[in-house]
Symmetry: C2
């Protein structure tokens, strides 16, 4: 089947899916979880094939680990699907209700976005998680997994579709495409697909952003900063900066650049650098920083714009809060940035003026994550400036429509000399 | 100054603008209104120049009328600015507040989007209205007006900038560009400009959508439908359809196609067509429709996809509700579509399944408008599926950021064997 045909079927399915009651969606989700559990052996066999192929093609150990499934991972998968079933349905919520005039009532109601294109790498559990989130929010989804997980993805999507359809979910709500050519084809279908969610490396996300006119939800980079203010509590600063760099350096919300106020350098920086060096973090510093301690490499202009995703940190000494804010707004990726200070005013200025999805005061940037933010499930982290920003939960998979109910009302009556007046009585308004 | 330089200045201004208190923004808006009033003579003189040029270049009467200013129009302009000052500030609202753990509080707070590019045709009052909306929502704006309004736009933007700066609005918050080349340049700056709002003809909006990677808020077409159901009240149907087609045919929320259930054809269609023909509406019908009355032209496949913006209507007879819904989802522009029926179930199905920004029951599509929806001011009408949909007010010019405040919290403590547990206590949640 052509990608266009698949997407057309997905579009048709999405219309029906939009009107499905919560009960049916949840029942389908629970059945999907059961069916994955009941078919674990077949899933593991398919996954074994992928793993064998991957070993032959010398896939890196890290990717191999993400690809490999076992009973524990399968039980985690089904757990996630069940937890999506428990989340509140994001569809059909009345955001506002305004009585325009007697008998003329306007509702602003959440509804699904339509057709989602989800592209991800290696991990087959991503297929399950994204399918569950899309079903719950009433969107149909075209999945493209990593080619190294081909067999795993095929069986998982087959199980999901079957269980879904059996429970009243329209055929074609969850579909798989497999090749790069098909992805390129899909990215062209901007009149059919309403949102693309790419998960994977920065360069991959950038590729998607640059090759489609479909809105993209995600982030290509996480260049996160911590600014240690003049009024920082040194102990907190050391704890937070160490956590943000070392707790998991390979992730997008890890700190890449540390900015330090000149007046706290002596009390803070030598201690901090020693701690980093003991943890085998390569520290690269500006000229002033390199005078503070030995073993610091030179940070070039390029360093300020680099996401290391590794045990490397660039350090810069700044003269004041404004210089720190300017540095972040210029070099950051609008992902997550933090200030460490005991001065509330400085914290407020920082959080207002730093133009990032998450801004933090006296907390590690590593908290920027859907689960930690209490969303139950995460679609991804967005650095866009419209629609959804930061860690995105189910709320990012819905939009709203206006429903106006009248009794034969016409606009003519509200125009001209004896025009009726609108009441515009707000009955409910969330925002 | 190069467009890039202008946009960079706008970006810097937007950062400061984001943190300005409501009071300052409102004071600036009121001063802008005063200053426009006090400079009416200079504005009218500049406008006269434009009108003279336009007459020489034989601008159409309709465009000339939109271009021309007089004291009444100026007083309307200042009235609009004052009313924007009275609107609630959309910035700084707490959408949700969650206690992640003791002392670790997460806020989701509305904030401006950043830099808006606004492109519009002929009407100089659009420059004033958009500037006011952007200032109020804390966004800086690059304006491009119609070249035929060059002199009017220049003086208006000068007055606005001066009055704004005098009241603490950062320099460069409202800027003007003038040529098509500059627009093309601006549309390339997707890393600096966060949202483009084009207002004007469908082909113009389409041009913008096709030539930029910046998100576009707007609509290129308004192919609006009314479906007259089997259970329609004939009198209501005639009133609503006539209003939707004839009250103002040139606008985007006018009806272009009328769908009629086969079982109501005899009672409804001859009367309706006669009324349209008396009002000089050209009716184009499918085969069945043309058998009903004389003087009906043939509707071709192309008609179903055409926005006439004129006194022309296409009519199609359908076998059932589903056929009507399918027709609309296939041929419509996702703008505004209505059903006329006394059957609540059919109305609900229609409003759930029709995938449009506004769906209506027993009301004229002409109600789809920011003012009528009670928004006070309208940025435009969006047919996008993300961010903002339908008539968009100030809420479409903001996004949110997450603010996390801690007391030295680190992620390490929430991981591993003796991991602390998150509380995720919801203090406030609008959506």
């Amino acid at each position: 089947m052509s990608v266009l045909k698949q997407v057309q079927i997905a579009k048709e399915a999405s219309i029906k899916l939009a009107a499905l009651p919560t009960k049916i969606k949840n029942k389908a989700l629970l059945e999907i979880a059961d069916s994955i559990k009941n078919n674990s052996n077949a899933i593991l066999r398919a996954n074994e094939k992928d793993v064998e192929e991957a070993k032959k093609s010398k896939l890196s150990y890290a990717l191999l680990k993400r690809l490999m499934l076992d009973n524990h991972k399968i039980s985690e998968m089904t757990g996630e699907v069940r937890s999506v079933a428990r989340l509140e349905d994001p569809v059909g919520r009345v955001l506002s209700q305004v009585e325009l005039d007697k008998g003329l009532m306007l509702y602003r109601v959440t509804c699904p976005i339509g057709v989602i294109g989800a592209i991800f790498e290696s991990r087959p559990d991503a297929a399950v998680q994204i399918s569950a989130l899309c079903l719950k929010s009433g969107n149909s989804v075209i999945l493209k997994g990593g080619s190294e997980a081909k067999n795993s993805n095929r069986i998982l999507v087959e199980i999901i579709s079957k269980a879904a359809e059996k429970n009243g979910i329209p055929k074609g709500s969850v579909q798989l495409i497999e090749t790069r050519e098909e992805v390129a084809e899909m990215l062209k279908l901007d009149s059919h697909i309403n949102l693309v969610i790419p998960r994977g490396s920065g360069s991959f996300v950038k590729y998607v952003q640059e090759h489609t006119k479909i809105p993209v939800l995600g982030h290509s980079e996480g260049i996160c900063h911590i600014y240690v203010d003049k009024y920082a509590d040194v102990k907190k600063a050391i704890g937070i900066c160490f956590d943000a760099k070392c707790q998991y350096p390979a992730v997008c919300n890890a700190m890449e650049t540390m900015l330090v106020h000149k007046d706290i350098v002596k009390r803070f920086l030598p201690l901090m650098i020693r701690k980093f060096q003991q943890a085998n973090v390569e520290v690269r510093g500006d000229e002033k920083t390199r005078k503070i301690a030995s073993g610091i490499n030179k940070a070039t202009e390029k360093d300020w714009d680099t996401e290391y995703n590794d045990s490397v940190l660039s350090v810069r000494i700044v003269n004041n809060l404004n210089e720190a804010i300017s540095h972040i707004n210029r070099h950051g990726s609008k992902h997550t940035d933090a200030i460490v200070t005991e001065n509330k005013k400085n914290a407020d200025v920082f959080m207002d003026l730093v133009d990032s999805a998450s801004v933090m005061w006296n907390a590690s940037t590593r908290f920027a994550d859907g689960f930690r933010y209490g969303k139950g499930a995460e679609v991804g982290i967005s650095t866009a400036k419209i629609h959804a920003r930061g860690p995105v939960g189910l709320e990012g998979l819905v939009i709203y429509k206006y429903k106006l109910t009248g009794k034969g009302h016409v606009v003519k009556d509200y125009i001209g000399k004896n025009a009726k007046k609108f009441r515009h009585k707000v009955i409910k308004k969330l925002f």
